[in-house]
């Protein structure tokens, strides 16, 4: 039991909190057809982290987080600029910006020798969830993610009505005096914050999965937004816990002498839950006819 508390509970909590932080903005990205933004934000984090390290020589979570947030802000501006100047649809503009910036991050990483110090591409993709254990105290990621998840939940509660209105009908929202542009920017900022915090703990694959998969699953099975949000939180935590346990134990149950990447398995479970939701939803739709 002690072993569970020290080695398994912290990463499980971190995975759950990262999932919760991502799911909250993810629901609104999905509804405003900006799902690709999650993809973009979790990729541009890499060059930000590398640049922050190169500039300061510090590997602290706060410095790297600041670098990542700066990169996320820069890319948000770039996306707007490319959308307007190149007259691309937003999805295409996001794809152009985030692939370029991610590639830039990889190049920076490989040419500056930073890869020796705890920064490598594999780490960027899968995170290091398994290493976030209790070492005389909780891992710093745990507190940081708890704080960010709570902050995002409170912010969402505060701006719930204008946000829902602006997401459903931005033009009408403007006639009601709602600052639609600021809400849009706020959602981008919330996505960046969640993506940066989650990225540092669980890597980009899981971050992208959590930004969209649980919300997409919940959207298929619910009819009101509060129900969708609650269901997406349920899907997120279920994916985190189930994925973590499966990664650690499924190979053992099969008699195989290794464990799997927890982040990879959690992302896989969230994808499988989405597939299951799609099957259930289409079954219910047929039954309703």
């Amino acid at each position: 039991m002690d072993e569970f508390l020290l080695f398994s509970l912290p990463p499980m909590l971190i995975a759950s909190l990262a999932a919760i932080a991502c799911v909250l903005p993810g629901n609104f990205l999905l509804l405003s057809r900006r799902a690709m933004l999650g993809d973009a934000m979790s990729h541009v984090v890499l060059p930000g982290i590398v640049a922050a390290f190169l500039l300061t020589g510090s590997g602290s979570g706060v410095v790297m987080g600041a670098g990542a947030l700066a990169a996320a802000g820069l890319s948000a501006l770039l996306i707007e600029w490319v959308t307007r100047r190149a007259r691309l649809e937003p999805g295409a503009a996001m794809a152009v910006v985030f692939t370029t910036m991610f590639a830039l991050g990889v190049v920076l990483l490989e040419t500056t020798g930073t890869s020796g110090v705890h920064l490598d591409v594999e780490h960027a993709l899968y995170g290091n969830l398994e290493s976030l254990i209790w070492l005389g105290g909780p891992p710093p990621e745990l507190l940081r993610l708890a704080l960010i998840a709570t902050g995002l939940a409170l912010a969402l509660r505060l701006i719930w009505r204008p946000l829902v209105l602006a997401t459903f009908d931005p033009v009408f929202a403007q006639t009601q005096g709602i600052p639609v542009g600021w809400l849009r920017a706020g959602l981008t900022a919330a996505t960046a914050l969640a993506a940066v915090a989650a990225f540092q703990a669980v890597g980009s694959i899981l971050t992208i999965a959590m930004l969209i998969c649980p919300a997409a699953s919940a959207r298929l099975l619910t009819r009101t937004l509060p129900a969708q949000i609650m269901a997406s939180l349920g899907f997120a935590v279920a994916s985190a816990l189930l994925g973590y346990v499966l990664a650690g134990y499924a190979p053992l149950w099969l008699g195989l002498p290794f464990t799997l990447s927890a982040s990879g398995m959690i992302a896989t479970v969230s994808g499988l839950l989405l597939a299951l939701s799609a099957l259930i939803a289409s079954h219910l739709a047929r039954a309703a006819l």
Partner: protein, 252 residues
């Protein structure tokens, strides 16, 4: 005068969407905005509301439009929103009460009753708890009108309220609009069906990027003015215009 518009001009990239359009809308009048596709009718409404930044001057109730926004209800084109969005009918109507409930959005019994009454005025009270995706096009349009009613406005700008709706909905909407006018409200609607202009409206604004003619239906809605707005093709085959469908959209 409920609304006075002067020299409204807007350029989308290289295209001139509005070219100095001017019009006046007296209090208690009911005006149809008509004109060919691409004439800038929707853009005219959006410019009046300040949703797109057009040059020109707009005054509502004798002052800046921004000051009168609580008195103005805008009913966008039905196609402007995603109807699979996870909200119920009553939630959409309550959006019209946003200015009263404010940021934190505590919806008390009086607000709910107000929204239900708006829904009842368009005959949709039995659908309050339905998800909006389960509605027909006509029912969706009525929900949009109910949301505008819930605002408690006295100037209504409607963008093609009769586009793609059933006959029952059209009758229900026109009855509500006429009742509103009787109570002193001003109605302005982008309209496509030339055959119903005289029956539904008392004034008409004919436009094609600029104002072609405006005034009472009896004196303004003439063959000559129509030919000027639509071009001579209308005179050859007036039915063609209806079947073309209400798909005029601004470029952005």
């Amino acid at each position: 005068m409920a609304l006075r518009v002067q020299g409204l001009t807007l350029r989308y990239n290289e295209v001139l969407a509005l070219d100095g359009a001017s019009a006046q809308f007296p209090i208690g009048s009911m005006t149809a905005i008509i004109g060919p596709n691409g004439a800038g009718k929707s853009t005219f409404l959006k410019s009046v509301l300040g949703l797109v930044a057009a040059a020109g001057t707009v005054a509502a109730f004798g002052g800046p439009v921004a000051q009168s926004m609580p008195r103005i209800a805008y009913v966008p084109q039905r196609a402007a929103v995603d109807w699979s969005f996870p909200v119920r009918v009553i939630d959409v109507v309550l959006m019209g009460c946003y200015r009263k409930t404010g940021l934190l959005g505590l919806i008390d019994a009086a607000t709910s009753a107000h929204a239900m009454a708006a829904l009842a005025r368009v005959g949709m009270q039995d659908f309050a708890r339905r998800q909006i995706g389960a509605l027909s096009g006509g029912q969706q349009q009525r929900v949009f009108l109910a949301r505008a009613l819930a605002q408690g406005a006295d100037l209504f700008l409607l963008d093609e309220p009769f586009a793609g709706v059933d006959a029952a909905t059209e009758a229900a909407i026109i009855a509500v609009l006429k009742a509103l006018r009787k109570d002193g409200a001003t109605i302005i609607a982008v309209h496509h069906d030339l055959s119903s202009v005289a029956a539904y409206f008392d004034r008409v604004l004919l436009m094609n990027r600029r104002t072609v003619a405006e005034g009472p239906v009896a004196t303004t809605f003439t063959r000559a003015a129509l030919a000027q707005a639509y071009g001579p093709a209308l005179m050859l085959d007036p039915t063609d215009l209806r079947s073309e469908g209400p798909t005029e959209r601004p470029a952005a």
